[in-house]
Structure formats: C-alpha cells, structure tokens
Symmetry: C2
C-alpha cells in the first residue's frame, strides 16, 4: 500500500480485523444489533473501530443490493423560475433532513422531454418522484404510479386520476382576486394566460370567469403560447391592452406573464394603476419592489413543500398510504396596483 493510496476498507476488512463475521458488522452498522441480539461488547467494539478508521459504507454497493438510492427526483418546469427555485430550496431542506438527496431536472413544459426524464429517473432508481407534470405525460405518470412508484404531483394535477398531489386552490384564489378588482370598482378586467390545458391554468381561468359572470361583467381573455420568447409575449400583451381600450385592470395568470405584463404596460406607455390595475400570480420579490407595488396571489410555498415531502416520505415508508390530495388556499396580498377605482384619474 503506497503512501498516497488510502486504502478504502470494506465491511469484510473490518470483520477480518476484528475477527468476527461480516454479517455481524453489517447488522450492527445498520442498527439491527438489538434486533439480532448481538452482544453489547461486540457492538461497541465494532462501532469504535469503525469510528477510528473512518469507515464509510459504499453507498453504491448498498443501493445496488437494496434497490434503494435515497434519491428523490424533482421534475419542475424550470429551475430558473423563482417560484420553483424557492420550492426546490425548501424541498431540499426537508429532504436532506430525512436523508434524501435531490436530483432535479427541468421540462420546459415539453412532454417528450418530460417523458424521457421520467424514464431517466426510473433508470436511476430514484426512490420517489416529485413531478410538476406537463399536459402530455398523464399516461406516463399513471403508469409509473401503477407500477408501484411513489409519485406526487405539484402545482397541477390530473383530475380523476389516483395520483396524489399538492396544488393551490387555483379556482378560488383567482376568483377572489377577480372579486377584489370588481369590489374596487373595475368593470373591464382582462386575463392574460398561456394557452394550456393544464389543470392550474384551467382553474385560474374558470375562477376568473366565474367571478365576472357572478357580476355580469364581460370577459377579456388573452392566451399566449408557452414557447414564445419574452419579447414576443410582451408584444402580444402590448397589443392586447392597447386594442381592448376599455380594459381597466388585468390579471396575469403566471409569474412570468406578470413580469412580461409589467414590461408591456411600460412599453405601451400606460401607468399602473392610473390606466390599468394589475394583479399577478405568485408573490415575487419583484412585485413587492415594483413601483407601484403589485397586488399578488401568494402561494403558501413553505406549507406546500412540507406537505409534499411529508406525503412522499409517508408513501416511501408504507406503500399502502393513498389519497393524499391536498389543495391549499392562496393568499391575496393587496397592494397599490389595485386601488379603489374612485381614486383613479383616467
């Protein structure tokens, strides 16, 4: 053994050096000493030795043997989106606390890519899946779960399927936000969304429409494609708000649409809230620091992350746990972008 080559010991070396068998060592190391009724003396001797030589079990061998990796696959729309990045941070914290690590990937809302990534996770034997699904992977996700995998959806779900999820109460959150604008006196409220069949988008739209219908107000909906680059989206929004001359308020259905919307309103030469009241989804720091501060629909991201991990750990621990379908309320944070219309000068 050269000086440089720090021989990495295996369980068998330990067993040999202590003159006992590997299984004894293995059981002790896995906390099954009591269960296997191994003597305290032996247990202490092994623990002490392991400590001294700094032995670390080979996790690759263990994973290979057990099929468990202690890795959770996290599939988000994009890790660059502040909402998902913040979620990732919280998920990470809770996961690590419980001995799980996170492998992440971004789908960019591309189903082919999402499908591939699910297989990648499967190939890598991740223990659990946290998935922000795209429209097109419903079947794949169902198949995955049906095959016994522990999977939980976030942000959006497939209604009627058996898969667990944690989502926002998108309908009521949007209903309340719309209602708030109506209460403030706005009568021509626009809704800018992406053209998508994803549940959260559908629910947000439905909440908006219901609130307007309840007050016999007209709908003004603009849907843009998800794949458009920011500049194009901004131009579409500029066009929308300039063409719909009556518009006195707009709700942006996602955080990035909100950001593009703010750019568009600036570009169109309009001012908030004098020409247009604004409500955005997700309470980004940007919305709070904007002038004027933007009224936002905040998601309870801390609680969401905890529920996600807790449910997933629960499923991991006992395969039988079912029906964890969690819908959490959003919180409308009212700021200066949506004042009473009476105070506005047109």
């Amino acid at each position: 053994m050269s000086i440089l080559k720090k021989k990495v010991l295996s369980i068998i070396d330990i067993a040999r050096q202590l003159g006992i068998s590997q299984s004894t060592v293995s059981f002790i190391l896995n906390g099954k000493a009591k269960e296997r009724r191994i003597s305290d003396a032996t247990t202490q001797r092994v623990l002490k030795f392991v400590e001294e030589v700094g032995y670390k079990p080979n996790l690759l061998a263990r994973s290979f043997r057990t099929g468990k990796t202690n890795i959770i696959g996290l599939m988000v729309e994009s890790i660059a989106n502040p909402f998902f990045a913040n979620l990732a941070r919280l998920i990470e914290e809770n996961a690590y606390k419980n001995g799980y690590k996170i492998l992440y990937c971004s789908t960019e809302n591309d189903s082919a890519k999402a499908r591939e990534l699910i297989h990648m996770f499967k190939d890598r034997h991740v223990d659990g899946y946290i998935i922000i699904p795209t429209e097109g992977i419903r079947d794949d996700v169902n198949k995955l779960a049906a095959g016994g995998a522990s999977v939980i959806l976030f942000d959006r779900c497939f209604e009627g399927d058996a898969i667990d999820y944690v989502v926002l109460d998108n309908f009521n959150s949007t209903y309340n936000a719309t209602k708030h604008l109506i209460d403030q006196g706005y009568k021509h409220i626009g809704f800018v969304s992406i053209s998508s069949l994803q549940s959260q988008m559908q629910q947000r739209l439905a909440g908006y429409e219901k609130a307007l219908d309840d007050h016999s107000l007209q709908h003004y909906v603009k849907e843009v494609g998800f794949y458009l680059d920011t500049n194009t989206v901004v131009d579409y929004i500029v066009d929308f708000i300039l063409r719909k001359k009556k518009l006195d308020a707009v709700i942006f259905a996602t955080n990035y649409l909100g950001v593009s919307g703010l750019k568009a309103i600036k570009k169109a030469g309009l001012s908030i809230p004098d020409n247009l009241a604004v409500v955005c989804y997700d309470d980004l720091e940007l919305f709070e620091l904007h002038t004027p501060r933007i009224t936002s629909i905040a998601q309870p991201i801390q609680e969401m992350s905890e529920q996600l991990i807790n449910i997933l750990l629960d499923k991991l621990a006992s395969k039988n746990s079912i029906n964890h379908k969690v819908t959490l309320p959003g919180k409308l944070i009212i700021r200066e972008s949506s004042p009473k219309i009476a105070r506005r000068k047109k």
Copy 2:
C-alpha cells in the same frame, strides 16, 4: 410470472435466450463490438432483441461495478438565489446533453454544512463537483482535489491553490462600475457588502477602493453579516445611508444586498437617482423592471456555465488536464439609476 409483474430482464437472461454469453452481450451493449471484433450478425441479433424486449441495463449495478455514477454534484450558496438558479438551469442543460445528471445542494454559506455536503457527494460517488465554496472549506476542497476528484469552483476561488475555477473579474467589474459613477460626477460613493473573506467579496471591495483612490475620493464602506435576516439588513442599510449624509451614490456588492438596498432606500424615504445613485451586482429582472431601472453589473452566466461544464467534462475525460483558471469580464449595464449628476436635483 404474473400478469402484473413485468419481469425485468438482466444481461444474463438475454445471453441465455440468445444462446450466447453475457460478456458478448455486455460488449455489444457498451459499443465495444468492433473493438472486440464481434460478428455483425451477433451484434445485430443482440441489438434487435434488446430493442424488442425493451431491456434497460441496471444503472445501479453498472455504477457499483464501475464506480462511475454519471452524476455531478452541484453545491451552491442557495438554489433560491436567482443567480444560482439560472446557473443551475444552464448547468443542467449542458450536463444532460452530455449524459450527466445533477445532484444539488445549498450551503447557505455555512462551512460545516458545506463540509458535510462534500462528504455526502463523495459518499455518493459523484463523478464531478461544481462547488461555490464557503470560506471555511478551503482545506476540504484541496484534499478532495488532491485525492483525484474532478472539482471546479465557481463564483469565488482560493487564490494560489491548484483548483480550477470559473469566476468573474470582480476587481475590474467593480472598478469599472465605480469609475462609471465617478465619471457621472458622484463624489461620495458608498459600498455595501457582506463581511466576508471570500475572494469575490474581497475583489469587489478592492476594485471599489482602487477606483476611489485613483480619484482621491473617500471610502464609505458598510459590511453586514451574511446571516442576518432581510429586515435587519434593510435596517442597517437605512441607518448607513441616513447617517452618511454626504452619500450621493451606493454600490451593492451582491444581488440580495441590492434588493435589500432598494427596500432600504424606499424605507428611508429617499429617491433614486435624485438623492442617491445606485449600482447593483447581477442583472436581475427585478433591477430592469424597477423604477427607475437600476444600473447593474451583469455576469456572463451563459458562458460561465458552458466553461464550467466543458472544463469539468474535460477533467472527467482525462485526469491530466490542469490549470483551467478562467476569469471572465463583467458587463456594466448603464441605466437610469446612475445618470450624470449635473441633471440631478438635490
């Protein structure tokens, strides 16, 4: 074999079913058919069969055997920080393109935690390490690299050590930003930073000081602790800008300090740029959408991520590659928060 239980085949099953040996199958599957001069007929037969039955090699077994995981460990300060989240997105893209997956973790600038995470990565046999180091893990990182691991630092580095890195030219970026303010006519330029010995912070401070010294101007430095919560930081900054009455401009040395700074300036009842010009680090969307738009020092994040991955892949491919120390220039994006002082009304 029950209907539900989709038997997952192994290489040995394939060999048996085709009446050949596992090694032949293994070689073919690993693209070594030519090298091993295996007949085309056999090769095609195996490939076709594998395709038909949808065989997937057990990655756990392969990793166990080879010691390679095709996983890169990414250790950032916090995945929730937009700068690192954006980096993570780009890193992910490049890594996946090359067959590598990413395990991420956040240090929150805690060296004990960072140390633990390095060991975790090591225990998990990640193939390569991308590390945004904390002050205190210099030795650990050096030991890791000395042990033959492929590691590359980002954002900050340890001068004089042999470890590769990709960092911003923090000195000149900050020098130029300070020079810009001086050129615009500002004479009392503050610098808000965190109290830290990290190279990037030291360099930023040095660049600021050099620019002031070159023009015989006074330094106004405020350093806040990294661990303080946002509100406390805001209060410290409020105190700083109110106490230093002469201050006519401030540079914030990190993106989050910039965000806190904007809050502080608002809270102090001052306006940008009339009372105070502002320059921030990192070109966040928030800075561009702020009113007024904030002059920022942008890091070439796209190129940084590419260099990071390329260098790491290079090291992974050939252990001999050394001395990849990359320093990239920042770009000063001049906006309305730092106009010529002549036009200002005090």
